[in-house]
Symmetry: D2
Subunit: 258 residues, 4 copies
C-alpha cells in the first residue's frame, strides 16, 4: 500500500481504550501494524492525549495520522500537514500517510463527498499518501482513485455503531472497480463482520471501537486479527456456491465419502 | 462433551473431498479433532469408501459415526449400533458417540423431528452419547435434552447449501435454553458464517461441504478453524452494543484518545 | 380451505385490543373474514373475555377457535371439542375448524412438534378441520399434511415479537412441498413483512398483535389488508429476476421507452 | 412537492414496456400521477420513442422529464432545458420539474455526486424544481437540500437490479435529516420492498422496471400501488416494537382478549 508492505490486513485505532496498557496489549493481540492517531487532539493536548507519543512503539508500528474533527477541506489539509510533522518528530521521516476525514455531521459522523475529494486532490499534489474515509459510493471512490489516492476507505455503517456491513452491495462494486486497495473502515462490531468484509474482497480493515470498548479488549483484538486472516484466506480459497437445495455430504457415488 | 474434552470447537466431515490426501491436509489445517463418518456407506463399501479406515489417523482424531442415509428411527438405531462396532474395530473401544440423522427428505435433507426423538430415546437407553441433527426447533431441542442427548445439532440451512445461518433467532433461543452443548451443523459456507454461529453462543460447529468443495480446501480448512476460534473469543470477550447513531473513536474528552 | 371459500387471505385475532369498538373497526378495515378466538379463556370467563360472543358479528365472520393456553396434546384435544360447541352455540353449526396450539414454552410461545402431531391425528379422526400452529419445519409440515390437516401454520418469528420472517428459507420449502394451504402465523410486524410472506407463496396470513397493538389499529388493519393483497398479486404477477448489475430503464433500443 | 399536490405516492417510469397499451394499463393500475420520461431519447427519436407524446394522457399525468444518458453536469443541464421545452409543447406550461441523473457508470448506472451537485445548483438558479437521483449519502442529500432541490431521490440498489433496499440505514438517516421529500428511486423489485421503503419514512417511490418487466405488468402495477399505500399507512399508524421474546395474543388478564 502506497509503496510499503505490511503483513497484517487489520489496521486499528488508538481511541477509547481505558488505559494505555490495555491499548498496547489489545493492539499487540490483534497483530495490527498500522495505527491511526487523531492529530488535532494530540496537537492541542486534549484531555487524555498527553503521553500518546510515548505510549506506542513507533519503531514497530506505522503511524496513520488522521484528520478527525475537521469539517471542511481547508481544515483537513492543515491538519494533514501537522500530522506529517508529528510523524517526523516521532521518527518516521518518510511517513506521508494521512487518513483523510472531512466530517460535517456530528451525529452519524458521515463524511462529506465534495470536500473530501477537494482535500484529496490538494494533498496528493503535496505528496501525501491519501487514505480517504468515504460513504460507500462507487463513483466517488473511482474519482478519488483518479486523483491519485492510495486507497479508499468506505464505511460499513456509522463509526462506533457496531451495525456491521449495511451496504455490502456497494462495497462489492467498489472492490470490483478499484485498482487501489479498498479498506473497510467503520461499523464493524464483531469478528464475523470483519471476516465478511474480507470475503467481499476488501484488502484490509480498520477497527477501533469494537476492540477498545469490548468487555475484554485484548481478547477481542485477538479475535479480530484471526477473523481478518480467516476472511482473506476464504476470499482466496474460493467459497462454495450458494444453492437453494441441499447437497449431501455423503453422496451415494463419488471418489471419497464420509 | 459427553465426558470428553476437546481443544477445537470445529468438527468436520470426511465427505466430498477430491482425494484422501486433500482430506487429511484440510482436516489438519482446520485443527479439528472430531471427524464424522457415514457408517452405512463404509459398511457397504460404497464407491469411494474403500480405504476410509486407513485414510485417517484414529489415534489423533475422534470418530463420530453418523447415520446418514437412514429415513426412519429403526434404520438409524441399527446403523448407530454398526457405527459403535466400527469405532471399536478401529481402536476406539470406549467410543459411544453417534451423530443421529433421520432424513426422509431427499431434496433438502431435512431431519424428521418425530423419528429423531424416538431413535434418540432408544439410543440413550443403549448407552450412546447421542448428537442429534435437527431443524432449529427450540421445543424439540429441549425434549431431546430431556431424554438424555449429549448435544443438539441444529442446522443453519440445508446441508451443503452454503446459505449460512438462516434462522439465527431460533438458534439463539436454543442456546439460551440448553444445558447441553449446542453444535451448529449444516449450511455454513464461509468463515464469517462460522464466526457468526459462535458469536450467537454455539458451543461448536460441524462443517464439511464448505471445506471439501472450496477451490482450495486446505486454505479454507484453516480459515474455518481461525474463524471458529475468533467467534468463540468474541462471544466471551463481550461485543460492543449496536447503536443507531455514531460514536466517535476520537472523543473530545476521555482518558486516552487517538 | 377445508371446503370453504373466502375472499380475503388475511386472518386476524381478537386479542389485545383496547376496546371492542376498536377491535370491530380494525377487523373491518383489514377485510378479514376469519377471526380466531381463544376458547379456554372465553369458557372460563377470563378477565376481559366477558361479552366476546356479542362483540363480533358471526353472521359475517367465520370463527376459528384456538387452543391457546394448552401445553399438551390431551389438553388441546379437550379444548378443541369445547371450541366446536362454542361455534355451534354462536350459530355456526357446520364449523369444525380448530387452530391447534400446543405450547409448553411460556417465554417464546413456541409449539411442541410431537404433541401437535399427536393431537392433530386425533382431531382429524374426530372430523375437525385442523389448522396446526408450528415451527417452520418442512418435515413436520409434511407429516401434518399426511395425517389430514387442512393447512399448516408456520410461524415467522415468536408470537407478538414483531420480528418478521426470520426463516424465509424454511417457509419457502414448506410452500414448495405442500398440497394444502400454508398460512404464515406469528411474527409479522409490518405490511412489508405481510407482503413478503405472500410473495414467498404463502396462501394466507394470520395477524393479531401487529394490528391490535399499533398506535392506530384501524389504520394498521387497513394497511395489512392492502399489503396481503399486494403480496398475493405480486406472487401471481411474476416478479423481475434479481440481477447483480444494473439494467437501464431507458435502453438505447427497444419498442417503447421513457 | 415543489408547490404541487398529488394523491399517489408512487411515481412510475415509461421505459421497458412491451407496448404502449400495456404501459397505459399498468400505470393506470398503479394509480401513479407522475411519470418520468427520458428527454434525450425522445428528442432524438431513438428507436421505440416515436409516438411517446401521444401515448400518454398529459391532461391526467404530470410529466417528470429526466436526464438519463447524461454523464456530466453540462450535458444534464442542457437536457434539463430541453425537457422543460418538451413539457411545454405537451401542454404543461408551468412544469419546471426535472429528474436529474448524471451517470458516468455504464454497468451499475450509479450517479456522480460531484457533477450532480454542480448541475443541481445551476438548475435551481434557472428556476427548475430539481429532483436529483443519488446514492444514499446523507451528507450529499443535505447539501442538495441546501442548494434548493425540491426532493432527493436516493437509490435502494442499482437501477433495474430488483435487489430491493440494500442500504436501509442510510435511507433512514436521509429521512431523519431531510426537510424536503425523500423519494426512494431504483432497486425496488417487489411490493414488500415498496412497503418497506415507505415504512422507513420515505415520502414517495419511483418504480419502473419492476412493473414494466414483470410477467404481468398490469397486476404488478396494481400491487405496487397497494403496497405503497400500505407502507405509508403503517408509517403513520405506528408499528409495534420489535421484541426479542414472545408476547401472547391471548393474555391471561386484560380488558379484551380473544
Amino acid at each position: 500500500m502506497a509503496g510499503r508492505t505490511f503483513q497484517s490486513r487489520l489496521m486499528t485505532g488508538s481511541g477509547k481504550f481505558d488505559s494505555f496498557e490495555t491499548m498496547r496489549q489489545s493492539l499487540a493481540a490483534s497483530g495490527s501494524e498500522i495505527v491511526t492517531v487523531a492529530v488535532r487532539r494530540v496537537q492541542t493536548n486534549a484531555p487524555g492525549h498527553e503521553g500518546l507519543a510515548a505510549a506506542l512503539d513507533w519503531q514497530k508500528l506505522w503511524m496513520l495520522p488522521n484528520t478527525a474533527g475537521c469539517q471542511t477541506a481547508d481544515e483537513a489539509i492543515r491538519v494533514a500537514r501537522l500530522g506529517r510533522e508529528m510523524a517526523k518528530l516521532l521518527g518516521q521521516e518518510d511517513n506521508n500517510f494521512v487518513k483523510l476525514e472531512v466530517i460535517p455531521d456530528p451525529k452519524y459522523l458521515l463524511p462529506d463527498p465534495i470536500d473530501t475529494l477537494k482535500a484529496a486532490e490538494q494533498l496528493v499534489k503535496e505528496g501525501f499518501a491519501v487514505l480517504p474515509y468515504i460513504n460507500a459510493d462507487p463513483v466517488l471512490a473511482k474519482r478519488l482513485e483518479e486523483v491519485g489516492c492510495a486507497t479508499v476507505m468506505p464505511l460499513g455503517s456509522p463509526i462506533g455503531s457496531g451495525q456491521g456491513i449495511r451496504n455490502a452491495a456497494s462495497i462489492q462494486i467498489i472492490v470490483e472497480n478499484a485498482q487501489i486497495p479498498v479498506v473497510v473502515d467503520a461499523g464493524i462490531g464483531t469478528p464475523s463482520e470483519a471476516a465478511y468484509s474480507m470475503e467481499l474482497g476488501a484488502d484490509a480493515l480498520l477497527i477501533n471501537t469494537a476492540i477498545a470498548k469490548a468487555t475484554d479488549p485484548v481478547a477481542m483484538g485477538r479475535a479480530m486479527g484471526l477473523a481478518t486472516e480467516a476472511g482473506r484466506l476464504a476470499y482466496l480459497a474460493g467459497r462454495i456456491p450458494v444453492k437453494t437445495h441441499a447437497s449431501a455430504s455423503s453422496p451415494t457415488t463419488g471418489q471419497v465419502s464420509h
